[in-house]
């Protein structure tokens, strides 16, 4: 559609250049258009393809229907032909074009015949032209053939000309996107001649075809259509070219069309007519439907509207839904906002009611339109009014309550009237009945008001107009008054009803807003990705009552992250639809053009950086589109969810980045301290050794002894460190051998304490063991190592202030603990100190110890079936206590095999 153009500044139109650029990246489409089957489209297409192939172009035949024509079949020889995809459908095997094979093969040019073909159910796209579009998007050039009758905007013209209803249609924009359109043309006589010669169809089909379709009149008309359409297309190309080259020209038409549609048959004609007008004017156009405010969505109407809108979209229109009751005002407001120059609408048969109370919509529009041109499309049988201005919904559904309410209020009025006439002399009781009518209308709507009006009319007559208790009216003036009363009652009652209807609508809108507001508050409280998605799923389920699920890409795969009900499973086809929605950033699945057979419809959740998730929901039913109201709510919810989800995703990424940075810092600190731990003893040993060699003769005996001692001590320290590292790697690798012997805990404690006294002579160690300690099952050597590590730790953190080893029996378990009086462990670190390389730190990041001792202890104790935990503070608000709990061994086994 040529709409915005800036020829005045002499620069190429950016839109046109952009479109040209897109065309360069995408594959190029060449369409061979013919007026009817048999004109030789496939033949000329193959002829051209053969020429290209001889020039060395990578041409592949995706699909060609030869219809048994020998000449055509001969042309296919020598081409690479893609195998068809066999589809089982209702027991029949259908050979379909294999889109995936074509995409995988990715030739430079692919020939795909019969653009208007409808694919077998279960295919990815319902229509072949959609397959072709995917090929083009993948950068593959496509040649295809099309009979002019299959063009969407011409479908009804063709069916009127030829009497054949065209079911397979191709949207006009597909032809508009084509880089080249080639008209394959022969005269009608020639075609009929070919038909008789059996060059088009096999004889039996040919005979039927001649009778029904291939009449000279039909063919001439179709040929004219094809010629004209192709000529238009050439025009378009010319205009495009002019725009690209910034050549001044007559394209600056700023016409804009508005097609007003409703749930009726005339609307489809309105849409087609508007499309034709728009094309000839080179104008953009919009189809609008104005929904009566406060009316319950009628499923049948919704289907009709969706069909009409679908047609309009295929014909290149924007579509729009508005709500309101004053149609002319709404239409004109929109027209002014969108700079509409022409309005197309259907004329309906005006009903009796309308004639009574006012002008029809077209009349009203013409009256108020001003400068806007109005086109009226006449109705055809059995067209109904496109949108009654003032509608009485006498749908029997739900009428019961209204009837009861109306009759009850009238009965009340009768009662009040009787009572009043008994007390005082009232000249006219009509006001009482009017009150009943207003009451019914105000509370139960227009229908109740009308029922109450007639009931009042009868009751008033029956009870209060003489002769009483008959429907006869004696005085003519009484009859006149009664009729006036009826008119007034109906009018005022209806007005009251409309007020009530509108209030209902407002309340409903407010409820929607409230629910949206609640939801956004719920979302703002949700911090994590899962929180957001679960909130969204639960909310959508409560609003729509359908199954809902959310998928988020994790790596290359889409994964269900939230669903309501929570046990959703997706099959491969459904998942493909979800992936499609995510990758192409467009709806897919049920109710869309892509994979419509799956159970769910998928919508992408789009943030600034593109689609971030997919929402799947189960539509009400396969053929019923989503109502406008639901659509609005859905869009609003999805938009909000996308924003919240994007925020949550970004937060998650930030946290991950921070954690990674933190990890890196920890690793750096770890490496630094590991190298420090290895280097310090080495430095002492090397320093002392070289000092002794170089300067030993200048030292006193005591100094020499001191250096030698330091060498010994540092060697021991280094060896402990290396042993710890080895133990750790053994535990890590699962290579640790743990004996399961009976172990006397007292012996082990004794051994560990002696080792510790040798290593740290200045550290006082007190031992307190219960006399009745049972044996434990385990490895004496390793248990001693554990206790020694704990004493080593106590020494590191509390220096020479001492340590206490305590042992007691608790139930069947043996509980051993090592307590120091050092600075203790922060509550947050009580568990972390058992992690590998974690150490109670010093502010410079360097810490005493290796950070391995406790994690080795835990590894060993757990291998023996025990537990080890830390407690702090332990003594007088200081210190730490490490508590080991090991299961005691059975006394019976003890007797059988004494401890080793």
């Amino acid at each position: 559609m040529v709409q915005s153009s800036r020829p005045d500044d002499g620069r190429p139109d950016p839109d046109a250049l952009l479109a040209a650029f897109h065309r360069e990246n995408a594959g190029r489409l060449k369409v061979f258009v013919g007026a009817a089957p048999g004109v030789g489209k496939t033949y000329s297409m193959l002829l051209g393809a053969r020429r290209l192939k001889e020039e060395g172009v990578d041409v592949v035949i995706g699909l060609v229907e030869t219809h048994g024509r020998a000449e055509t079949a001969a042309l296919v020889e020598g081409f690479e032909v893609l195998p068809r995809r066999m589809v089982e459908y209702h027991g029949r095997t259908i050979a379909e074009f294999d889109l995936d094979a074509a995409l995988a093969r990715k030739p430079a040019l692919i020939v795909v015949d019969e653009l208007a073909h409808t694919n077998a159910p279960e295919s990815r796209h319902p229509k072949r032209w959609q397959d072709v579009q995917e090929l083009l998007a993948a950068g593959i050039d496509v040649w295809t053939a099309l009979n002019i009758q299959h063009l969407e905007s011409l479908a009804d013209v063709v069916s009127r000309i030829s009497g054949v209803v065209v079911r397979e249609t191709v949207p006009d924009r597909v032809l508009q996107q084509a880089t080249d359109v080639v008209l394959v043309d022969i005269t009608p006589d020639e075609l009929i001649q070919r038909l008789h010669e059996g060059k088009v169809y096999v004889p039996e089909t040919a005979r039927r075809a001649t009778q029904n379709f291939f009449t000279p009149g039909n063919l001439t008309a179709l040929r004219e259509l094809a010629l004209r359409r192709t000529a238009d297309r050439v025009d378009d190309q010319m205009v495009d070219y002019l725009r690209q080259k910034a050549i001044e020209g007559p394209w600056g038409a700023s016409e804009r069309l508005l097609a007003c549609v409703g749930p009726d048959e005339v609307s489809e004609r309105v849409v087609r007519r508007a499309s034709q007008l728009a094309t000839s004017l080179n104008a953009a156009w919009t189809a609008v439907y104005i929904e009566p405010a406060g009316q319950e969505g009628d499923a049948k109407k919704a289907v009709q509207i969706a069909k009409t809108f679908g047609l309009a979209e295929r014909l290149g229109a924007d579509t729009m839904r508005l709500q309101g009751n004053d149609y002319p005002a709404e239409i004109l407001r929109l027209a002014r906002r969108e700079n509409v120059t022409q309005i197309v609408l259907g004329r309906s048969r005006a009903g009796l009611w309308r004639r009574l109370i006012g002008r029809s919509l077209p009349d009203e529009l013409m009256h108020r339109a001003g400068a806007v041109e109005i086109h009226i499309v006449p109705h055809e049988e059995p067209a109904r009014s496109p949108r009654p201005r003032f509608r009485l919904n006498l749908n029997p559904k739900g009428l019961g309550v209204e009837v009861v309410a109306a009759l009850a209020s009238v009965a009340c009025a009768v009662g009040v009237g009787e009572a009043l006439t008994a007390l005082l002399q009232l000249p006219n009781l009509s006001m009482i009945f009017l009150t009943a009518v207003l009451f019914s209308g105000g509370l139960y709507g227009t229908r109740a008001a009308v029922i109450a009006s007639f009931a009042s009319f009868l009751a008033y007559n029956f009870f209060f107009i003489p002769p009483l208790y008959t429907f006869t009216v004696a005085q003519p003036q009484e009859l006149f008054a009664l009729l006036i009363f009826l008119a007034v009652a109906v009018l005022t009652g209806s007005l009251a009803g409309r007020v009530r209807d509108q209030r209902e609508s407002v309340i409903k809108n407010a409820q929607v807003m409230q629910s949206l507001y609640d939801y956004s508050r719920k979302l703002s409280g949700a911090s994590g990705v899962d929180d957001v998605l679960w909130a969204a799923a639960a909310h959508m389920h409560s609003v729509f009552g359908r199954r809902i699920l959310f998928l988020v890409p994790e790596g290359d795969e889409l994964q269900i992250r939230a669903a309501w009900p929570p046990d959703a499973q997706l099959d491969a086809a459904t998942l493909t639809a979800a992936r499609w929605a995510q990758q192409k950033n467009e709806p897919a699945g049920q109710g869309t053009g892509t994979l419509p057979r799956v159970e769910y419809q998928f919508r992408p959740l789009v943030a600034a950086r593109g689609p971030i998730a997919v929402c799947g929901f189960e539509p009400q039913s396969p053929d019923q589109p989503i109502s406008a109201e639901d659509e609005r709510a859905l869009t609003a919810i999805l938009d909000q969810t996308a924003i919240a989800l994007d925020r949550a995703l970004l937060a998650r990424e930030a946290v991950q980045a921070a954690a990674m940075k933190e990890n890196e810092k920890v690793r750096d600190a770890l490496l630094a301290s590991l190298s420090h731990d290895l280097r310090t003893p080495l430095a002492s040993i090397a320093g002392a050794a070289t000092s002794l060699r170089a300067l030993g003769d200048k030292m006193s005996a005591a100094e020499r002894l001191d250096l030698l001692t330091s060498i010994e001590e540092e060697t021991a320290r280094l060896s402990r460190f290396v042993a710890n590292l080895l133990d750790m790697s053994r535990i890590e690798a699962g290579n640790l051998k743990v004996n399961r012997d009976l172990v006397d805990v007292a012996d082990v404690v004794q051994g560990a304490v002696e080792r510790s006294r040798k290593a740290f002579p200045k550290q006082p160690v007190r031992v307190s063991l219960a006399p009745d300690l049972p044996y434990v099952r385990g490895d004496a050597k390793l248990l001693e190592q554990v206790l020694f590590n704990l004493l080593d730790n106590a020494h590191k953190y509390s220096g020479d202030s001492g340590a206490i080893v305590h042992g007691r029996k608790e139930g069947a378990d043996v509980v051993l603990s090592v307590t120091d009086e050092g600075p203790g462990v922060k509550p947050a670190d009580l568990e972390r100190i058992f992690e590998k390389f974690y150490r109670g730190g010093r502010p410079d990041g360097r810490m005493p110890g290796t950070g391995l001792g406790l994690s080795i202890c835990r590894g060993l104790i757990e291998a023996m079936g025990g537990t080890i935990v830390a407690q702090s503070p332990a003594v007088r608000r200081r210190g730490a206590r490490i508590v080991i709990r090991l299961p005691g061994a059975q006394p019976k086994q003890l007797e059988m095999r004494p401890a080793s």
């Binding site: 320093g687 300067l695 100094e703 330091s710």
Partner: protein, 228 residues
């Protein structure tokens, strides 16, 4: 060496222990400090002639201690550092440390550094007019370089380069120090220049340029001329 007072700053008791014994045996008077704060106090009040400073201290960063010391004293400072901490070493040298020793080290290496630093500190006031290293002599008054008495022809840049290394004989000179002294402050990052010139210089002065003895490389840090 009598009367030379060395302040040893290290928080590891085992390092302190052997340094105290060894340096005393080598004839130094030894002061010790375990923390940065104590090191600063002793540097100000203990009148040390030399400071041996470990960069990893419990209370504060060794480099910080160094720059504090440099605010009031030009006492030579020898850094104790790990081999894998190049950046730290260079930073310390640029902050005014005189040299460094990598842990683990032999006592001979440390005392050699101490001697070079002391000598340099002593000669700072009066530049010797002639320095000879491994048979290569540099006469600053005559701007003449000879090997075994035979004059060597050097370009002005090569001469300046050799001069800065010879004047700091026995001490490491960082890339940055050389570059800014010879090529000017704008070129302190152009270490590839330096590599080329050092190669040319070695070809002229070394007996075997493939295993240099006069100008040795301190990988990643700088260059060092052998002790005179």
């Amino acid at each position: 060496m009598k009367g030379v007072r060395v302040l040893v700053v290290d928080d590891e008791p085992q390092i302190q222990r052997f340094l105290t014994v060894a340096l005393a045996a080598a004839g130094y008077e030894v002061l010790t400090a375990e923390t940065g704060a104590r090191a600063l106090r002793l540097a100000a009040t203990g009148a040390p002639d030399l400071i041996v400073l470990d960069l990893g201290l419990p209370d504060r960063d060794g480099k910080e201690v160094l720059s504090e010391i440099r605010k009031f004293s030009q006492t030579p400072v020898i850094i104790l550092s790990a081999r894998d901490r190049e950046a730290e070493k260079i930073e310390a040298l640029d902050l005014g440390a005189d040299d460094y020793v990598e842990k683990p080290f032999g006592i001979g290496e440390l005392t050699a550094r101490l001697r070079a630093a002391l000598r340099h500190a002593a000669s700072e006031a009066q530049q010797p007019p002639r320095i000879e290293i491994e048979g290569v002599a540099m006469d600053f008054d005559k701007r003449l370089v000879t090997r075994d008495g035979v004059p060597i022809k050097l370009t002005p840049k090569e001469y300046d380069l050799l001069a800065i290394l010879f004047r700091n004989a026995g001490r490491v000179v960082t890339h940055r120090q050389i570059l800014s002294a010879v090529w000017g402050r704008a070129h302190t990052e152009d270490t590839q220049y330096l590599r080329v010139f050092i190669g040319q210089l070695r070809a002229k002065i070394e007996r075997d340029p493939t295993s240099p003895r006069i100008v040795t490389t301190e990988p990643g840090v700088g260059y060092r001329a052998a002790e005179a």
